[in-house]
Each structure stands twice: as structure tokens, then as C-alpha cells.
């Protein structure tokens, strides 16, 4: 009996040590930072809108130029608790003004903070991990040109066990993937560009794809629609079998530009902010997103039929 207890204690220690190592925050290799050069600020601004930074990090309800002050504070209510978007303006105290590019890149691609702890996946590093280093370099350059804000955003309000940051490392083992989601045999240039924008910076899948009980994306139901992670209702199925089945590629591009559907209904909810970001991209990028959405496999709805 005593030997059994001794064995179990040793086993528990071994498992704990293994989990500790497995849950370590990810880092980037030195090689990733080679040959980046000076940031192209115009491209950085495009990446800023493609990435939708302002939709969460600007002050809640900000419109127009106020969207450029990334003071944080937006509450994101989820099944796991309430997350508050942090201040990512260039303020050295309240914001990220004293971060290095390496720290920014590790946050974006690995979900690792400068203190070496895990960020929560309410920040969509699970998608941003697919952003090219050169684009991150441009984005970082652009972010530093934006106004500083000294606003201090509230801490996340999460219950047990979601308040254990280290556990996010184990979640990352399951859900942090940097490869392409959809495997195309021979995509044309537009489809490839659309794939990059949708699966990477645009992080469309974060809302349009259903999640598992512990909040990981069900990639087998990519873009099939989901219950709204942050409120009532659903986020539509945007595969070729979903709500936009009858839309042409031109209709999709026009929607992203204007917010109007082919029936002249409009975007609603959080998609309004997303659409306004997309309207700032070059027309060719909106056409590329449309080409990609037409090329992906159709899926049945990823959310339950409504009961109302």
C-alpha cells in the first residue's frame, strides 16, 4: 500500500512537471526576424484595418478618427467570463509603447506576453499566427504612429479554472495551428490572397466557426456559422451552402465595401465594425475574400436550428 502511494505521488509529480513544460509560452526563432527592414507604413495601415485591431481595442463605440486611439476597455462577455480589451496605444505606461518588435510578434503569433505569460485566445492570435512576418513588421511600424492614451483597461474577470493562465498553454497544444485551414489543390492568385486575409489577419473564423466546449475552433466546420460568442443570436454560415449561397462573388465584395446585402438589407451587430474595416482595404482584397469564400467547401449550419 505504501509503495502504491509512493508510486502515485511520483507519478503526480512527473505529470505536473510534464504539464508545466508542455504549457510553456511559445517563442519565435531568431531566424524569423532576419531581413525585415524598415516598415512600410502604408501597408501597415492596410494590415491594421485587415486585422480589425480598432474593433476591439478602440474605446467602446468609437467612430471615425477616434478608432485610431487604441485605448482599450471594451468588455467581451463570453461563456468563460468577461475579457477586457487592453490598451495597445503607444503609451509607455498604459499601452505597449515600451514593447520591442519581438515582443509584439510573439504576442501576435504565439499568444505570449512580454512577461512570458499566456494571453487569452479572446485575442485572436490563433488566426494572427498566420500573418507573414513582413506584414507584422509593417503593422508594428504603423501602430507606433497612432495617438497614445493613458487609459488603464480593467483586468479580465474570469472564474476558475479559466483564470489559470498557464493552462492556456495546454489549450494552445490543441488549438494553436499555423498552417492553412483549407487545403486547395491549385488556388489562383485571388483565392490565395483571400485565404491569407480570411484565415490570418481578418480572423473571420473566430466568430463564423463553431467552438468546442473549451472554446477551440472546430476546423471541420470552418466558417459554417456559430452561436454568437458575445451575445444573442447567431453568426451566419458563410460557406457556399450557407446564408450567402445565392450571393455572387460581386455581391460579397459589394457587401464588404458598402454593408448592403443583395436584398439591400445591411450588416448588423459586430459585423458593422468589421465591414467598415474591410471598406478601407483595396478593392482587390475584397474581391479576393469573395473568391476564397466561393472556393471553400460548403457545410451545413454550425449552429443549432432556432427554437423561438
Amino acid at each position: 500500500m505504501r509503495r502504491l502511494i509512493g508510486f502515485l505521488v511520483i507519478l503526480a509529480v512527473v505529470v505536473a512537471v510534464a504539464l508545466w513544460f508542455l504549457s510553456a509560452p511559445g517563442r519565435l526563432d531568431e531566424a524569423a526576424f532576419a531581413d525585415l527592414g524598415t516598415a512600410d507604413l502604408a501597408r501597415g495601415e492596410e494590415m491594421f484595418w485587415a486585422g480589425g485591431c480598432a474593433s476591439c481595442h478602440a474605446a467602446p463605440g468609437a467612430k471615425g478618427d477616434d478608432k485610431l486611439t487604441l485605448s482599450g476597455g471594451l468588455a467581451i462577455k463570453s461563456d468563460f467570463g468577461t475579457f477586457y480589451a487592453p490598451n495597445i496605444s503607444p503609451d509607455t505606461q498604459a499601452g505597449i509603447g515600451d514593447w520591442t518588435f519581438r515582443q509584439f510578434a510573439e504576442a501576435m503569433k504565439k499568444g505570449t506576453s512580454p512577461e512570458g505569460t499566456h494571453l487569452y485566445p479572446s485575442f485572436p492570435y490563433t488566426s494572427y499566427t498566420r500573418i507573414a512576418m513582413s506584414d507584422l513588421n509593417d503593422m508594428w511600424g504603423y501602430l507606433q504612429t497612432l495617438p497614445a492614451s493613458d487609459n488603464v483597461a480593467p483586468d479580465h474577470a474570469l472564474g476558475f479554472p479559466f483564470n489559470i493562465r498557464r493552462a492556456v498553454g495546454l489549450w494552445n497544444l490543441l488549438y494553436l495551428r499555423n498552417g492553412a485551414v483549407i487545403d486547395f489543390a491549385s488556388p489562383d492568385e485571388a483565392v490565395s490572397r483571400g485565404q491569407y486575409l480570411v484565415e490570418g489577419p481578418g480572423h473571420c473564423g473566430e466568430c463564423h466557426t463553431p467552438r468546442s466546449l473549451i472554446g477551440g475552433l472546430e476546423l471541420g466546420e470552418w466558417l459554417a456559422g456559430a452561436t454568437n460568442p458575445d451575445g444573442e443570436g447567431i453568426i451566419p454560415n458563410i460557406t457556399p451552402d450557407g446564408s450567402i449561397k445565392s450571393w455572387s462573388a460581386g455581391d460579397i465584395a459589394y457587401y464588404l465595401e458598402s454593408g448592403f446585402t443583395p436584398d439591400f438589407d445591411t450588416a448588423g451587430g459586430s459585423m458593422v465594425s468589421v465591414q467598415e474595416n474591410m471598406a478601407k482595404l483595396p478593392a482587390s482584397d475584397r474581391e479576393a475574400i469573395a473568391a476564397y469564400l466561393k472556393a471553400i467547401p460548403g457545410r451545413p449550419n454550425g449552429y443549432p436550428a432556432r427554437s423561438n
Partner: protein
């Protein structure tokens, strides 16, 4: 002749009453459909897909204004659910904000009718102001369900 006119007027009232008697959820969905139809005319004009027709444009703004005038009354207490409504609970929890948004739509569409734009440039200015209302209101007061 007088009788025929009286009957016609009575019929008009009766049909008006019949519309009022419909469920508010259905009624407001029809209001929004009429706005969508009018928006179709205006957006196609803005895109240059149809030739500029001042009469059609003013009628479309007027149709939107008609929908806006009674819109607030189509969201009474007790109609938060049912008939596949996509009305957000925010309409009832933030009534003042909702009423302000609808009144802005009412004002902007009324101004567009009064402006009676007779060329595409004048039209675009009014169209931009009116169209912005759709998204602003739907961002907060509408929930997607299908």
C-alpha cells in the same frame, strides 16, 4: 356615385385597420422590407446601374420616411420574441437610444424628400446620410438569427 366614393373610403379605412391589427413583429418586418425595397432603387442609382430618375428617387425616400414615422410604435412591450423577430433586447433595455436612432432616420429621410435632389450629385449627398442610418441602428438594435 356618392355611395361608391363612401364605400371606397370605408374600404380604405378597413384595409388600414386590418394592417394595424397585424402582429407588431410582422408589421415591423414589413416596414423594414419596404425600406429594403426603396434602398434597392437608391443603391442601384448610386452605383449607376439604373439611370437617374428624380421621381423614383424621391418616392423611395418618401417610402422610407413612411416606414420611419410609425416604426417606434411597432415595438411595444411583449413583442420581444415571436414571429422570428430579429429585434435585439437592446430595443427595450435602451428605449431612449432606440427612439433617438429611429427619429434620426425619420429626420434624414424627411430632409431627403424636401431636398428633392434633381441630379446624381445632389442625390449622393442625401443618400449617404440616409444609408448610414441602416447600419448604425442594426449595429445595436438588431440580432441576426438566420
Amino acid at each position: 356615385m356618392k355611395n361608391a366614393l363612401a364605400i371606397a373610403i370605408a374600404a380604405l379605412f378597413l384595409s388600414g385597420n386590418a394592417a394595424v391589427a397585424a402582429e407588431p413583429q410582422v408589421e415591423r418586418q414589413q416596414s423594414m422590407k419596404s425600406v429594403g425595397q426603396a434602398m434597392g432603387t437608391l443603391a442601384k442609382t448610386a452605383k449607376g446601374e439604373i439611370d437617374y430618375d428624380a421621381t423614383a428617387v424621391i418616392e423611395a425616400f418618401a417610402a422610407m420616411n413612411t416606414a420611419a414615422v410609425n416604426f417606434i410604435d411597432q415595438f411595444p412591450e411583449g413583442t420581444e420574441t415571436g414571429h422570428e423577430t430579429e429585434a435585439s433586447p437592446n430595443i427595450w433595455s435602451d428605449r431612449a437610444g432606440f427612439e433617438e436612432a429611429v427619429k434620426k432616420f425619420d429626420t434624414d429621410t424627411a430632409n431627403a424628400v424636401i431636398a428633392a435632389p434633381h441630379d446624381i450629385a445632389a442625390f449622393r449627398a442625401e443618400f449617404g446620410k440616409v444609408a448610414q442610418n441602416c447600419k448604425t441602428c442594426h449595429e445595436t438594435y438588431r440580432v441576426s438569427k438566420k
